[in-house]
Structure formats: structure tokens, C-alpha cells
Symmetry: C2
Subunit: 237 residues, 2 copies
Amino acid sequence: MNSQRAVVLLSGGLDSTTVCAVAKSQGRDIYALTLNYSQRHAWELNAAADVAKRFGVKEHVVFPIDLTRFGGSSLTDRTRPVEKDVPLEKIGEAIPSSYVPARNTIFLSLALAFAETRGANEIWIGVNCVDYSGYPDCRPEFIDAFEKLGNIATKAGVQGRGLKIQTPLLNLNKAEIIKLGLSLGVDYSITRSCYDLDALGRSCGQCEACLLRKNGFQEAGVPDPTPYRDPGSEFLF
Amino acid sequence: MNSQRAVVLLSGGLDSTTVCAVAKSQGRDIYALTLNYSQRHAWELNAAADVAKRFGVKEHVVFPIDLTRFGGSSLTDRTRPVEKDVPLEKIGEAIPSSYVPARNTIFLSLALAFAETRGANEIWIGVNCVDYSGYPDCRPEFIDAFEKLGNIATKAGVQGRGLKIQTPLLNLNKAEIIKLGLSLGVDYSITRSCYDLDALGRSCGQCEACLLRKNGFQEAGVPDPTPYRDPGSEFLF
């Protein structure tokens, strides 16, 4: 079987790591792309590098993109606080402060450039529309619109090398994603999801990403290997 | 009349400067975005800053984006030569080496983020499909697909603040663009189009961008104010 080249958007979080495992299990040659968009901590980049190494990717590009120039999100504007302890049933009702304007459009655009230069005709991305945070650019209609655009926008598309956006997590909830990853041997202790990691790479346990992740492990009925800090422990450092 | 906020993609070249003039003449408050994608020379950035100043833009963001990480174009990969002296009638027949994979998709994505954070619902871009170089991401179907995507991808779109991509040059040839700009008072001597500027900001006169520009001034029947270097003069420095 010929292996197929695929770009995987890899943040180092739970979802994108699972996507990487699925792509690998389906025999893809992986070109991993990590966008460094001035996140609050470099720990996410460490996690992405660890994951890339474990999955034996062909190439891992860490691409700097300074979205703080635009602001407009608690993830890219340090003067805005990350929301904490939002009740689970409220997550997804409104678009939260962690929404980064046009984030997935920008990320997929860069993945499109990477894919075209490496001769890959697939982009894998860990969006899902079940346990998501209400971001407009995680919906199936967004993915469809981007796939259409990608096929019009590029030399590869014009020359008939069709682009496919692969979203294996689209209809899974967090517990199902975790079970899928564990069945493929993912070690979630090296992944990070928290919007507010401390200097030691420990998760806060209270932001939306932590709440969804914690709940996922609970619902999956498996131990949560995430290193959490004790409430208030950041004051010790 | 209430003025309307608009993001203008401004490279400092002939086309984007004309777009800026049209947006200004239609009463827009301009938020200029210049993408610094490791072009061969910083002169383009100087030209963009000059243009932004002359048009009294509200804000000018110069956004660094290192497309050399992906390569695949003579504009972002210095080991690949820029094509010179291609006969005018051949330009547009094949996609040339100056094609930057997914360039306009990336640029419009960043403009989308800028627009959303500044409350602008228009993005102006100087693509045209007449005197163009055969780039797939300069075609009307590409622009339509991006407009659709932008309205799905963002909080602003979901909340009904429709996004419009404005392409006032889409169906004009270079001579018509020049005449339009001159009628609006554009000083083309401060703009740069060349893919191979020298250290003094002088144009080569032989790359595709220069050939199209030179021909445009000739067809418009107006003097070409572009500073060209003499062939071979770069060896004097």
C-alpha cells in the first residue's frame, strides 16, 4: 500500500494528538504543523514536540504567528482573563472570551500552504461539534466551506489534485475521543489542553478546556493522567 | 454619512495602492494590513508605510509571516530564481514560479481576524483577473468562496454582521487601474511592484510584475514614474 502524505494540525492537546494517532493508524505519512500563536505558555509547544516524536512524523514545522497583534481573545490578549468554573451545561451556549477571531481559518490556510509545498492532499484537524466551546469555526459547514475554498485556491486544486479536510473527531464527544485515542495507544499524560497552564506545565482544572477534558475522562471511566496544580498553589512559586 | 470601517490589504504595490485610493474615495475608515512575508526586499514595506500615511489610515498593522518555512515559490525561497523577460502574451498561460502557495488564502484569513477585532465588515483586496499572472487565488470564484467562508467562520458572521470582500480591480486591466488611480490622485512613484528590487529600491524592469506594470503605463499613455535600475547596474554596488 502506498502511504499518503497528510498535514496534521497538532497543538499538543488531547484532540489533535488523537487525530495524529488516527492518521498514523491509517498509514499516513504525517507532516505536523504547530502554530505558535503567542499562547500563554510554551508548554503546549513542548507537548506538540513530544507527540510528533512519539508518532514518528516525517516533518514537524512550528510556525510562529503573532495573533496578539490583532487581540480580541483571552488567549491572545493577556489583559483579558480566562473564564473559570463555567457550568458544563453552559459551555457552548455563547461564544466565550477564548474565541480567537478567525483562528481555524488562519490555521487551515497555513496548513494549505504546507500541504501544497509537501505534495499532501489531506489536512487533518481535531475540530468537533459535540463537546465544543461554541466556536463558529468548529462546525461542519465551516469545514465544508474551507475544503471548497482550498480546492479553488491552489495550483494543486486547479490541477485536479483534490484537497480533503479530515475531521475524525467531528461527531465524537470528549469521552469517545479519549476511548478512541487509548485504543490507539495514546499517552494523554504528555498532552496539554489547559488555557492557563502554570510555569511547571500543570493545568488549572477550572478553565473551559480543563472542565471538558476532566469530564471526558470521568465519562470514559478511565483515570485522568493530567497533572493539575492544587488551587492556590501558583502562589508558592 | 456614517463612515464604514474597512480592512485594506496593502502591499505597497500599484494595485493595492489603487484599492486604498478607491476605498478612501468611498468614505471608508481604512485599517491597512501589510503582510511581511520575507519578501526579497524591505522596500515594499517602506512603500506600504508611505501609502498608509498619505491616505491617513486609522491603523496600519505590519504583520510578520515567515512563508520561507514552507518554501515552494521564487518569492519566498531565495534559491529559486525569479523568471525574467517572459513575453507579455505568455504571462498568465502557466502558473509561474512566483506563485506563493495559498498566499491569498492566508492573507485574507489574517485580514478576516483583523476585520473582526476592529469591527470592520469589509475586506478590500487588489486582485484582478485580466492582467494577472495566472494565480488561482486571484479568480472571482476564489473571492466568492472566501466570502462565503468568512461569513461562516466568524462570530461576526454568525451574529449576522455580513462580511463583504471588495475587489474594485477585478475586471480592470493594468492601464485601466493606473487611469483609475491617477483620477484619484495616486502618486505611483512611491509604489513598488518588482519581484527583484535592488538595495536602493529600484525595479529590475524584467520580472513579470515589472513587465505588466511597464506595459500598463504605456497603454495608459502616461509617463511611468517607476525608478528602474540600468541592466547590470547592481554589479556596481
